[in-house]
């Protein structure tokens, strides 16, 4: 602990977690800036659909003829896709932040149970996010400031889902 005190700026701004209010204010400012610059609200999972489609094309399945894509894959440009850029930014930003805090660590996988939970959980989240036409960012964070009712419906649904999820977690992971 004593060693850290030598670098008060590093300790306060890069190592210690910021308060919820600091995060909220920054998120609001950045989300507003994103809408102003790109013309569309912040979203995350829309890009995954396109990447998934591109991957299918790569392995020889022409997903572009599917109704959901209908030629969108041929026109897709990563650098013009707002979610694709912000998604990349989130991952790169998280890496920079953890490196600056000197907290980077490759974690050991504790059990095969954790692996299955990650795979199944990821699939459920992906399918759920697509059925809901967005995740907690596109369908919640970006919906509420636009006074859209679907954000509130999403909020109720996600809390019910989380309640069920925590019970499953308690039952199988404790």
């Amino acid at each position: 602990m004593g060693e850290n005190k030598k670098y008060p700026f590093h300790e306060t701004f890069l190592k210690k977690e910021w308060s919820y209010s600091t995060g909220a204010v920054l998120l609001a400012i950045l989300a507003l800036a994103l809408v102003t610059v790109t013309g569309s609200a912040w979203g995350v999972t829309g890009a995954f659909v396109m990447w998934g489609g591109k991957f299918l094309q790569l392995v020889g399945i022409n997903a572009d003829t599917w109704k959901g894509f209908n030629g969108a894959l041929a026109k897709y440009n990563f650098w013009k896709d707002q979610p694709a850029i912000t998604d990349t930014g989130i991952v790169v930003g998280a890496l920079i932040s953890v490196l600056l805090a000197a907290q980077f660590k490759i974690k050991k996988i504790k059990s095969s149970k954790n692996v299955w939970a990650a795979i199944l959980g990821g699939l459920c989240m992906g399918i759920g996010a697509r059925l809901a036409l967005g995740c907690n960012i596109g369908s919640f964070f970006s919906a509420l400031p636009a006074f859209s009712l679907h954000g509130w419906l999403f909020w109720i649904s996600i809390f019910s889902g989380a309640a069920v999820g925590s019970q499953l977690l308690k039952k199988y992971f404790m």
Partner: protein, 75 residues
């Protein structure tokens, strides 16, 4: 004054917190629980909960991205 270590390395929230709560329940007043974590969210919610429950808490950074949360049960 028993001392016990709880290995929560590789566990994500809220598993470390629930495991800590369960382990402390079984311990006697004055006992010390050392929780090993490498999940930065647990570094916030485990001490936050333990302090709000009135226990003495200390956090030690033992390596890059790895912490020991030392909790002394006070009641």
């Amino acid at each position: 004054m028993a001392e016990q270590t709880l290995d929560c390395l590789g566990e994500a929230c809220p598993v470390p917190l629930v495991k800590t709560q369960k382990a402390l329940e079984k311990m006697a007043v004055g006992d010390v629980l050392i929780v090993d974590i490498d999940h930065s969210c647990a570094m916030k919610n485990v001490p936050d909960w333990a302090r709000s429950a009135g226990h003495n808490v200390e956090i030690e950074e033992v390596g890059e991205g790895e912490w020991n949360i030392i909790i002394e049960k006070t009641k």
